[in-house]
């Protein structure tokens, strides 16, 4: 059988599944909603000022998205950077690149497999958060209707569908963060530098958002796209931020990925 990108992808996923670090990231993601519910159970009040926060204590369906709002600043990016930053650099420092580069699979196919595996990990992170969010939120507050951001009451089933969709929208900019992490992983050949670099990249974008005279740029920065899912919880659904999220994130992913592929395919492998 001729090896393909799918072969590389399958083995990248298998390698991720064999590493503790993967489970730490997914575990942390899954634990967040449980911690959130536990803390709320021990105190009165809550984060009612965040989107959908007013639904907490009334329905468990909104929990995952409220937690995501808090995690969207750096938590999700950090866990993503941990895997994306290491996906190539880990092989450079481990000396395994030269072993896989001398097989029958092309370098482009290898990097494509790694990229797809990283995106899979991003989706897995969000699914872990959603699952424990729904379970812990449901146990604590039940599966009741949700009041959306325009004050419309949505049935539990409808809100659940929108929650899945919202996580899908959230995954798009997160994949773009992963793409930048992969780019740094290829360029720096150093996991720590790539992970820190990815977080600094996010910090810089947050800082730019804070600059008043660059407010016009805000909607076109990657960091702003993490709020795009809010459009889904409006009646009628406000698609503009979702569409913008898709193309802005695609642009933020395509440029570093194109550079990463170009470098990866031509790079010298010396001492790694």
């Amino acid at each position: 059988m001729t090896p393909t990108t799918l072969t590389a992808y399958r083995w990248e996923v298998r390698k991720l599944a064999a590493q503790k670090r993967t489970y730490i990231g997914v575990g942390a993601s899954a634990l967040l909603p449980v911690i959130f519910v536990s803390v709320m159970a021990l105190q009165t009040g809550g984060p009612y000022d965040v989107p959908l926060g007013h639904n907490l204590r009334h329905t468990g369906i909104a929990l995952a998205l409220v937690v995501l709002t808090f995690a969207s600043r750096f938590g999700a990016q950090l866990v993503t950077a941990l895997v994306a930053g290491d996906i190539v650099a880990g092989e450079s420092s481990g000396g395994t690149l030269k072993m896989i580069f001398t097989r029958s699979l092309g370098r482009g196919q290898i990097l494509a497999g790694k990229t797809l595996a990283t995106f899979t990990y991003v989706v897995l992170l969000l699914l872990a958060l959603l699952t424990t969010g729904l379970v812990s939120g449901g146990i604590a507050w039940g599966f009741n209707p949700v009041v959306d951001l325009t004050g419309t009451r949505l049935s539990a089933v409808h809100a659940l569908g929108l929650t899945f969709a919202a996580l899908g929208v959230f995954a798009i900019p997160l994949a773009a963060v992963a793409a930048f992490g992969i780019f740094l992983s290829v360029v720096t050949r150093n996991s720590a530098a790539a992970i820190v670099g990815t977080l600094v990249y996010e910090l810089v974008m947050e800082a730019v958002v804070g600059l008043v005279h660059l407010q016009w740029l805000h909607h076109y920065l990657l960091s702003a796209q993490f709020d795009a899912w809010h459009g889904l919880f409006q009646t009628p659904v406000f698609w503009a931020p979702v569409v913008r999220c898709a193309w802005v994130s695609a642009l933020f992913a395509a440029i570093p990925l194109a550079a990463a592929f170009a470098i990866f395919k031509r790079r010298d492998v010396a001492g790694e």
């Binding site: 059988m1 001729t2 090896p3 072969t7 590389a8 399958r10 083995w11 298998r14 390698k15 064999a18 590493q19 481990g94 000396g95 395994t96 030269k98 072993m99 896989i100 580069f101 001398t102 097989r103 029958s104 699979l105 092309g106 370098r107 031509r266 010298d268 492998v269 010396a270 001492g271």
Partner: protein, 310 residues
């Protein structure tokens, strides 16, 4: 099709030329030894053969294909490793091979069990590589190379980290693979090993090839050397130094060693006896590969050096 043909390879890192206009030619069926001191450019040249490094100048052909432009097809029929083979430490030996076999395609996945048995690792195949010794990783590296059912096997210091038994096993294995028709290109520091295994060698020094050819020709190319022991070595040494047809006169232990042709040796023996010295021994000495290696790689430092008579 010639397994390896390299012309004018150059690779520089800043001002340092790691490889400087290297030509190599490995013929089908060769067990080809690539020799040189540490840092001479062996591994850099081998990386270029496997398409891991791009030469600044020159070109390489592996079975007629350019590994710089035709990867991965250029490595069809080629298996091997450069430097210590590395694997994923969190996967077992078998899983590592399954991964590489999947990346190879063809019948490689069906060969995993066989190659594990060939290198004697079947008993530890389900252990994680993180717990493997250096020698076991070398064996696994060879297994990974054999997965490709190669016509050309490229091995960088294959006996590194092996115990004496492992070295013997590896040597026997390389011999048997070559006997089956596989061409082997190996670098080694162990000159005795190269002498025993290899049919052709090249010697690289400071990035340049200083010898390439049959091992037998290398032995033949060295000036005939003789060992002389007399009743008075100080007097004999003076005679040898004055004799115009003798070269590279050295005192090694109790013996005087020199290079000369047979005519000069006959004349010398008459001259020594004529000077009233008794000859205890005058015997031809075959240069070992080690001696030839040092001559080629350290020639400027040692040639014509005469040790003082105590």
């Amino acid at each position: 099709m010639v397994p390896v043909e390299a012309h004018g390879l150059v690779k520089a890192y800043g001002r340092i030329r790691a490889v400087d206009h290297v030509d190599l030619s490995v013929h089908e069926g060769d067990i080809y030894g690539f020799l040189g001191p540490n840092g001479a450019g062996k591994t850099t040249a081998m990386r270029m053969l496997l398409g891991l490094l791009r030469p600044d100048e020159g070109e390489v052909r592996v079975f007629g294909r350019d590994p710089q432009r035709e990867l991965p097809q250029a490595l069809d029929g080629v298996g091997g490793f450069v430097e210590t083979p590395h694997f994923y430490p969190y996967l077992t030996g078998r899983t590592n091979l399954e991964l590489l076999a999947a990346f190879d395609g063809g019948d490689a996945p069906q060969r995993v069990g066989d190659v594990l048995e060939t290198v004697g690792l079947q008993g530890r195949a389900t252990d994680r590589v993180g717990g493997y010794s250096q020698g076991m990783r070398q064996r696994l590296g060879l297994a990974a190379a054999l997965l490709r059912n190669p016509r050309l096997l490229v091995l960088d210091e294959p006996t590194n980290g092996l115990d004496p038994g492992g070295i013997r096993d590896m040597r026997d294995l390389i011999k048997s693979l070559a006997a089956e028709g596989m061409t082997v290109f190996l670098s080694s520091h162990l000159l005795a090993e190269v002498e025993e295994l290899c049919t052709r060698v090249s010697v690289i020094r400071e990035g340049r090839i200083v010898y390439e050819g049959a091992l037998a020709d290398l032995h033949a190319s060295s000036a005939p050397r003789y060992r002389l022991r007399t009743s008075d070595q100080q007097a004999a040494q003076r005679l040898l130094l004055d004799a115009p047809a003798l070269h590279d006169v050295q005192l090694k232990g109790d013996d005087l060693v020199f290079s000369a042709d047979e005519t000069a040796v006959l004349a010398l023996s008459r001259h020594v006896v004529g000077a009233g010295l008794g000859i205890a021994a005058l015997v031809p000495e075959t240069a070992t590969l080690e001696q030839l290696f040092f001559e080629l790689t350290e020639a400027d430092e040692h040639r014509h050096r005469l040790e003082p008579v105590p």
